[in-house]
Assembly symmetry: C2
Homo-oligomer: 248 residues x 2
DNA sequence: CGTAGTGTTGAGTCAAGTCAATGGTTGTGG
DNA sequence: CCACAACCATTGACTTGACTCAACACTACG
């Protein structure tokens, strides 16, 4: 199922969605030494408390960021799609403050932290692109604080479904406003700050309202505008366009 | 009340807590052109939807980041202390995805976005320091997702009180584990994803448990270890030490 | 000394959680 | 190919943490 392309191709395309790269920049990224590895569901890429030594780039499959409280409650902080670098948030810090784990089985390209840091320093455009990516990730964290802090279960659920839809769409992973949702209801609960039981009820509610259609793990939106509104979803925070400041 | 020092001194010291700067770096920051301005409570530094043109550095007073839902519910995403740059999160993006507002009256040094960006590019150590600061801010966002998503009101409240205590302590703004809490209960509620009424009850509960002492807006912790435990507070996520990777 | 903004308290309601049982799917090994 | 096991989804009955509404008290400042 691996494409015939270079595994880091997705990363390059992902960075280029947000920042400009020259041909040399692209080539330099593709020239990075890496190890390709297939990871199972639940495999950790990094654990809270560990010093980051490498940066994993998701080639296929999905992953998430996660923190837990003392008494074991888990909160999923972010979801990651193919092409995402999983460790930009960690690799410049001494100790990781959260864990990253595979949401599905998938492939990962592992790059040594120093290699990536040197490249970012040697090629400012790449360093800039990485900065932009981390800033956009931070923006998503902020939206999640709002989502979990101030929206009710129905809107909250609709909101993550919209976010995933938009982000998958930007990567061309959707089929007519529908996609495979690679999460169990328990995982959804941990992303939303709810219980699995309530997630189930909320999904059924959205379904009864005609806002979503479900078959097993696949989600479709019969009317994007309607769910967008129900979710209070505004994709501005995803910063999906090229981040070249309007110079004036 | 302005110190006789350079207004950007606090920023330099703040950056140096996390990254190494040379004397030339320090001087270069202090040589930045800026405008000093006194802002009242609730004045916006930047509004969601606006293009960032400048970066405000907090010289005195407090500020916060904020987003609101369609129906007007507000969530405070982060709190800022003197020395914090309020717009690192925005200034490399085309449009701001959230607002920043003064929590108290205070002074702000305003620097043009391009000036700061050019400096960051010309002096890699400064660029690196800015990157580290944004990464630490992102770490705090993540902890807030966990706090709001998975902790009950009592722990949640205790947790922000601890965070503020720790951060103020790092700046030398506390007196024996106590500090002036510059927020109304309504603002606290918006930071915690609760209602003002419940904030009031939760504060009284913590007080009754002997975990905090209050007089008007001032907070003291009779027993830091006890509240730390009650809050499930681990300051790792604040990355309070110098972020030089353990090379091995 | 009056007024506006905060803080405090009580009573009643509701969204979401808990507990517990039942049903469905998928994958695996006999 | 079937049967079982493990995991996941669904549902109902009940509980609870947090919200709402509403009144009242305090404090600071003009």
């Amino acid at each position: 199922m691996t494409s015939t392309n270079h595994p880091l191709d997705l990363l390059v395309r992902n960075l280029e969605l947000r920042a400009r790269l020259s041909q040399e920049d692209r080539d330099a990224i593709l020239a990075l030494p890496y190890t390709l590895r297939t990871l199972d569901h639940l495999t950790y890429t990094i654990r809270e408390g560990d010093p980051p030594r490498e940066c994993a780039v998701l080639v296929s499959g999905f992953a998430y960021r996660q923190k837990t409280t003392q008494d074991g409650a888990r909160q999923i902080i972010a979801l990651h799609l193919p092409g995402d670098a999983l460790d930009f948030q960690n690799m410049y810090l001494k100790v990781s403050d959260h864990s990253v784990q595979m949401l599905t089985r998938g492939e990962v390209a592992i790059i040594a932290r120093e290699e990536l840091q040197e490249l970012a320093q040697a090629r400012p455009a790449i360093g800039h692109a990485i900065l932009i990516k981390t800033l956009v990730e931070a923006s998503i964290f902020r939206e999640w604080v709002l989502n979990v802090g101030r929206r009710k279960a129905r809107e909250r659920m609709a909101h993550v479904l919209c976010e995933l839809g938009s982000r998958m769409d930007a990567l061309g992973l959707t089929q007519e406003h529908g996609y495979e949702l690679p999460m169990t209801q328990e995982e959804l609960a941990d992303a939303l700050g709810l219980t699995p039981v309530h997630v189930n009820r909320t999904l059924k509610l959205l379904e009864a309202e005609g806002l979503i259609m479900r078959t097993r793990r696949s989600i479709r939106f019969p009317d994007w505008e309607r769910i967008r509104e129900a979710a209070d979803f505004n994709e501005r925070y995803l910063h999906l366009d090229l981040q070249v400041p309007s110079s004036s």
